[in-house]
Amino acid sequence: MKPIFDESDPVELRLCVNGAVRTLCVPPLRRLLDVLREDLRLTGTKEGCGEGECGACTVLIDGQAVLACLTAACSAEGSEVVTIEGPGFERARREFLEHGAAQCGICTPGMIVMTRAWAEACRRDGIEPTEDGARAALAGNLCRCTGYGAIVAAAVSTAREGFP
């Protein structure tokens, strides 16, 4: 999973993670996923595949949902990173609990981060949140437990906040 790719000389990396500025010294191609999970011990971001297929490692970089397993540390330099441990997920968390959308929970952080990105996009672009919209937004996040129904419903409820 983890590429043996930490051979280049470490460089200084400055990130704003969940609102706090962090300065580290890491090899520039170290995966952001490992920076978060190992260097910063933020283990809420999960690894399901390491190759972009499962979405478990979804985080926000400058407000955009991206995959931490396919992001090199140097590509995130100077960015604002938000993980599941960060602020702003209260509504989505509540909806996920209320809909029974978390079973084993391993896909849940990625799902919740993606839900928030989608909800914010709906609000920003004035797009009415629908079930179809939620399904398209969450198509890069695999869940093997739920059959997706509860997750999609939780995402729609989350995004509906602020819509009549």
């Binding site: 590429p3 043996i4 396919l70 590509s75 198509a139 890069g140």
Partner: protein, 283 residues
């Protein structure tokens, strides 16, 4: 291994001056990081261009629509000029991976990886796109078919950066279509992908297909038949002939050669059929 983070085209070109065959440019990372993960790629030099703003633009110019190589699939989906002038690219971008991938995957990366299953590449073929390359030695422009030379192989020299692609203006009355058959509805690699453009009465047809040979290709035999004024009744036969002649599909973990051939034929007939005139009406 050296890693250079470039924030301008000039900085990237300077870093690339010492590049070798083993060097890599890191844009969205959605291909390259997977290669790192599998251990397939161990570069001597990596030039990170993910935040070179000069590579991320869409411009309407005299030569047509110019799209920066750093434009992401999400950029293509949001761009009104792309929707007008390069609709095939937007249709293809919508089919790439899922949202997180689209937020990162760039046009330049798709093109330079030159996977036979790439979705943006056939769209570029059907649009007659030209690829603009830059290096410290200067700039040059290639037709996209000349740029993609083989299985994951391109005409790019190690020191060159793909700056942009140029899409010629859309001819009046041109039909265009994009169709992807994948392993599932999202996050799926193409088993067969078709992008095509067809002028009135079959003129100037550009029919591109992916995943049916070691690289994206154009179905020249079919294009020629269309240019001669193919009647609807003869389409299926002409398509079968062209697919047999022009494509070289293989069995792999995603599908079979037989399936790819059959589906390519059926998709082409389905897409082209309504645009052709029945016998008698044809020129």
């Amino acid at each position: 291994m050296r890693v250079v983070v470039a924030r301008s085209i000039d900085a990237a070109l300077a870093a690339l001056a010492s590049a070798t065959e083993a060097s890599r440019i890191l844009a969205g990372g959605t291909d390259l990081c997977v290669e790192f993960e599998s251990g397939r790629t161990r570069p001597d030099l990596v030039v990170e261009v993910g935040r070179v703003a000069e590579l991320r633009f869409v411009r309407e110019t005299q030569a047509g629509l110019e799209i920066g190589a750093g434009s992401t699939c999400a950029d293509l989906l949001r761009s009104a000029p792309v929707a007008r002038g390069a609709d095939l690219l937007a249709l293809a971008a919508r089919e790439v991976g899922a949202v997180q991938i689209q937020n990162r995957a760039t046009l330049g990366g798709n093109l330079v990886t030159a996977s036979p299953a790439a979705d943006l590449v056939p769209a570029l073929f059907a649009l007659g796109a030209r690829v603009r390359l830059a290096s410290l030695a200067g700039r040059r422009e290639l037709l996209v078919e000349e740029f993609v030379t083989g299985y994951r192989a391109t005409a790019r020299r190690p020191d060159e950066l793909v700056e942009s692609v140029v899409i010629p203006p859309r001819p009046a009355g041109e039909h265009r279509a994009f169709h992807k058959v994948g392993t599932r509805r999202a996050q799926s690699i193409s088993k067969v992908v078709v992008a095509l453009a067809l002028g009135p009465r079959g003129a100037g047809a550009r029919i591109a297909a992916g995943s049916v040979a070691e690289r994206t290709l154009r179905l020249a035999t079919l294009e020629a038949a269309l240019a001669r004024g193919l009647a609807r009744e003869r389409l299926a036969q002409a398509v079968a002939h062209a697919v047999a002649l022009d494509t070289r599909p293989r069995d792999d973990v995603r599908s079979t050669a037989r399936y790819r051939r059959a589906v390519l034929e059926r998709v082409l007939v389905r897409v082209l059929g309504p645009w052709l005139e029945p016998e008698g009406n044809a020129a």
